[in-house]
Amino acid sequence: MSLINYSSREINVKIVYYGPGLCGKTTNIQYIYDKVTPETKGKLITLATEMDRTLFFDFLPLELGKVKGFRTRFHLYTVPGQIYYDASRKLILRGVDGIIFVADSQRSRYDANIESLYNLHENLGDYQLKLDDIPYAIQYNKRDLLDVISVKELEEELNPKHYPAFEAVAVKGTGVFDTLKAIAKSVLRNLS
């Protein structure tokens, strides 16, 4: 739900990080928060359990300088990946303008990725949306670990339509900004 305010000359857009529990969504947003300049970022909000598992969402507002007189703001959200929190996930998806699906490359998390992607389709369906309607990218995270599935195999199962895909090691920041930049650009392109 992008909001364009012609009077205060602001554009707000919403980008959601989706994916199974522990795949690294919060890690992505935390890395971005640590690296961008203070003028670019607002306050990072995380609603998590004591175990650092996202309970409701993380939220980080990022702001571009003025472009043709308009101030553009990206609202980044992560959903809680644990299956149990589906009601919260659905709420966060409301009004989404762009989605990043973070997949966990570990073999042991193969089924969890498929499950979560299926859940994403279902929850979008409840808002009469399809993945094809929204700027979308997939991130294969945790490429640093030993027992990871090949990108080719992951593509076949999780990304048969070949949406933009990025390999990442979110703990080190590898691929984090590449993924964000790609989605941020296609969301703005979608406005015009």
Partner: protein, 165 residues
Amino acid sequence: MVRTNWKVFEEDYWAINTILQELLKNSNSSSVLLLDKTGQLISSLGEPPQFDLHSFASLCAADFEANAQLAVLIGEKDFSTLYHQGSNESMYLARVEQNIILVILFDKRTTLGLVRLRAKKALDNLETVIRRLYGKLEYENEENTEFNEEFVQQAEVEIDSLFTD
């Protein structure tokens, strides 16, 4: 229906702010905010807050929407208002039309009764403005001359320079 995209035009913005300004004054509150239910801030008036407004707005929307879901679970259609009482600062949240939320922050300088009373009038007026705005959106043709190729290219340069390690 969930509105997927929307816009606020100059005259509506001023109409909204006039209503909020009056509410701020006649309810004696510290600040008033208007946001959409996805947490995007439309306008805010009053004492400049000491916190990040956009994060605050996102939490307000989440709070309100989570409560709306609770309402459905116990068989209510909605909780159209919420009240959080603190020892110094309190908050009153109310739905304006299905997509918009009004948030009022107030302290001991006023009372819940007065805030609620003034909010009621403001909600009616806001609803009229919002409906008019929606009407315009339906008739507006989708040509968006301001967000052309030039805008996108300049924005991309900004993205490349700001979103980096």
